[in-house]
Structure formats: C-alpha cells, structure tokens
C-alpha cells in the first residue's frame, strides 16, 4: 500500500525482473533509459528516467514534457502522441 495515495502498490513491471542488488537496479535503469531513447530518437521524442521525479518523463523536441508511471504507460503515451504505436520492426524496414 502506498502511504501517500492509499492505493495498493502495483506489482511492478515485468521488465524490472532480473536485478538483484541495488547496483544491478541502477544499471538496469540506466540501460532502460538508453534503449528507450534509441527507440524514440527516430520519432523526435526523448525520455528521461530517474532523478528526482518518479516515473518516466517523455519530452518532445520543443520541450513539452509528460510524466508517465511506467514502461507500458510510456508506450501508450507515445502511441497517443504519434497517432500510431512505436514499432521497432517498422524502424528497420
């Protein structure tokens, strides 16, 4: 239970499995940010994960920023902004 909002804590996203130590978690977070940006770059979007703000911040080239909770919501927000889902296969065609 989150003591700020009173909602049951979400069980976490599956991508967060696989890290054991705090160091692994930090490395995973940095790597996650790098890969998200690799995927977003062709669409003129950027993301930053970590720092003082919880969640992931998604920004456009003009600096407009949206904060999303987690990875699945990030892809939903990207789809909303682009009008189609971000497709890692189409990018290599």
């Amino acid at each position: 239970m989150c003591n700020a909002c009173g909602f049951p804590a979400r069980p976490g996203v599956w991508t967060e499995a696989g890290s054991e130590t705090a160091m692994d978690k930090m490395r995973a977070q940095l790597m996650q940010g790098a890969v998200i940006n690799r995927l977003l770059r062709p669409y003129g979007l950027m993301a930053s994960d970590g720092g003082h703000v919880p969640g992931i911040q998604l920004s456009t080239l003009t600096g407009a920023t949206t904060i999303v909770d987690d990875l699945p919501s990030l892809w939903e927000e990207v789809e909303r902004q682009l009008g189609r889902p971000l497709d890692p296969i189409v990018a290599v065609r």
């Binding site: 499995a17 890290s19 892809w75 497709d87 296969i89």
Partner: protein, 304 residues
C-alpha cells in the same frame, strides 16, 4: 497460490484427463474449478472433487466476471488460513488460455495471489488435425500451450498421430509434448516420419503465425532486451502469439513467457533445469525473421 490452466478444444478430453489425474492422486491437493460454455453443467457429474462450476459463459469472455469472483473467493479463503496451494481451472472448450491469463493479471487483487503453472492444452488425436484446419481458436489454443497432451492416442493410427505431432510441432515447437489414453499418461509411441500438414489460410486469422528463433548473444543486457520486447509487444501484440525462452541475467536464469500482450512474471529457474539459455522462440506473423534480427541488433545491441 498456483493456477494451472487446462485448456483444449471442445471434446478434446480435458475432463477425462483431469478425472484420471484426480483419481491417481497426482492433483490430490488441488482445488478444481470447471468452466462450461453451456448453461447446463455436465462435467461436475464426472468429477467428484470440483469446488465450483462456472457455467453459462466461457471464462475468457462472457463468464470472465464469474471466474474472477471464484478465484478471488479462493484467494480470500487462503488469506484466512485455509490450506490451499493449487487451483486447477478446466476451461471451456471455447476458451483462449491467453485471454484467461490476461484477465487474471489485470485483476488488482488476483495479481498478488496467483502464480501461473505451465499452461496445459489437450489435443484430440482423432479430430485435432481437422480442428486445426478449420478453427482459428484451436490454433490459438495450441500456440499458447506450454504442455501439449495428446489424448485418445489409442484410437488414432500411427500415421495420423505422426502427422498431427508434426503439425503441432510446426505451430508450437517449444511446448512439451505428452501422450495419454483415457487420461493415463503413456509412453510416446513409435511414430513414422511425417510432414506437417499445410494448414489453410483462415480469413479471420491473417497469415498463420510462424515460429522464429532468436539467439541472444551471451552478455546481452536483460533490461535492453526487455525494453525492446515491451515496445514490440505493445505495437504487435495481436500478431505475436507467443514468445518464450530463458535469458541469463545477474539475478539468475529468467524464464520469459508471453501470450500476445501479456507477459507472465519472469521466474528464476534453477541452474540445473534442462532449458537452453539465451534462445528465444517467437511465434508471430506480419514480420520476417530477418527483420526481427535486425530490429534486435539495432535497438538491443545498439549496432547501426
């Protein structure tokens, strides 16, 4: 609590298999939920230890609310101290196991209580091939299975059986295959060589999903792989029927399994289990093996 989903097409032999497993004591600690698409339950007359029959709607669509309520009730009883470690859900013959997993994982209470066992799908050795030929649902059931059990093996000729086995292998190369007669597991029979049946194209389905193998180089970062895969599933979840494999991570060997957009919580496997490390099987359509490998190389490995 562990949840075993037992699926299979109408009349494939789900109840017979379950009945024998209960009789032989293999599932003696399990609570059994039976879902029937029809409103008049029949199967509970055959199974003595059924805790609840969910009739009048398939658990993956019309009867979803009933199924969730029944599972929540069991989770509640367990929290109050009832010894309850294992639930077996016999789905209706019209249910898509993937949709049931999605429903359970979407439920904010159950997601904290339920751990999934491998999905078992039974396939009728006599009619299985005809069902696969005509029914998109039968193909979806086979593609979502972790364990495929062929039933009525004594009634089919070795040639028919071999052809069915080859066809199942082409649809789902990664599932464990077992054979049974009247619910009893039997040793794999000697089968002649056979080619898989070329399944006709069904209008509802688009082109049939194709299995593809992706080798993950040792040392590949799990977070990089999982972020890429999550974007891929978001964009192409309807076409990517199944992804399965074992990936080595700092925390150990992770078993990764997805059914369409739903990813089961990755599980850490013991070091001595047989699965091969760093090979992922993708069963999907709408993209080629080469495109998959190029996308992986570019976004996960960072090659240009």
């Amino acid at each position: 609590m562990r949840l075993t989903i037992l699926g299979g097409y109408l009349g494939a032999g789900k109840t017979t298999w379950l009945r024998h497993q209960l009789f032989s004591g293999a599932l003696s600690d399990a609570v059994v939920l039976v879902n029937e698409a029809a409103r008049t339950p029949v199967d509970d007359a055959l199974l003595k230890s059924v805790s609840c029959v969910l009739s009048g709607g398939c658990a993956c669509c019309d009867g979803r609310a009933d199924m969730i309520a029944a599972l929540r009730d069991l989770a509640d009883q367990k929290s109050q101290g009832r010894a309850l470690a294992h639930v077996v859900l016999e789905t209706s013959g019209l249910a898509d196991p993937g949709a049931i997993i999605a429903a359970v994982q979407d439920d904010p209470v159950l997601v904290h209580h339920v751990r999934f066992d491998p999905i078992r799908v039974v396939v009728d050795a006599l009619h299985g091939l005809a069902q696969l030929r005509d029914e998109p649902l039968a193909r979806r059931q086979v593609a979502s299975a972790d364990i495929l059990t062929l039933t009525k093996c004594d009634s089919a000729s070795p040639v028919e059986l071999a052809r069915l086995v080859a066809t199942l292998r082409s649809l789902n190369p990664d599932a464990d295959l077992g054979f049974s007669e009247l619910g009893r597991d039997v040793a794999p029979p000697d089968l002649p060589d056979a080619r898989p049946e070329v399944l006709p194209h069904l209008a509802e389905e688009g082109p049939p999903p194709v299995p593809m193998r992706l080798t993950v180089p040792p040392g590949t970062d799990w977070s990089a792989l999982s972020v890429w895969l999550s974007a891929l599933l978001h964009a192409r979840g309807d076409d990517l029927v199944r992804v399965k494999g074992v990936v080595r991570t700092p925390a150990g060997r992770l078993l990764l399994q997805t059914v369409r957009r739903i990813v089961q919580r990755p599980e850490i496997l013991p070091e001595d289990s047989a699965a091969q490390d760093n090979v992922l099987i993708f069963i999907g359509r709408g993209f080629t093996h080469d495109e998959l490998e190029r996308s992986f190389a570019r976004f996960v490995l960072g090659e240009d």
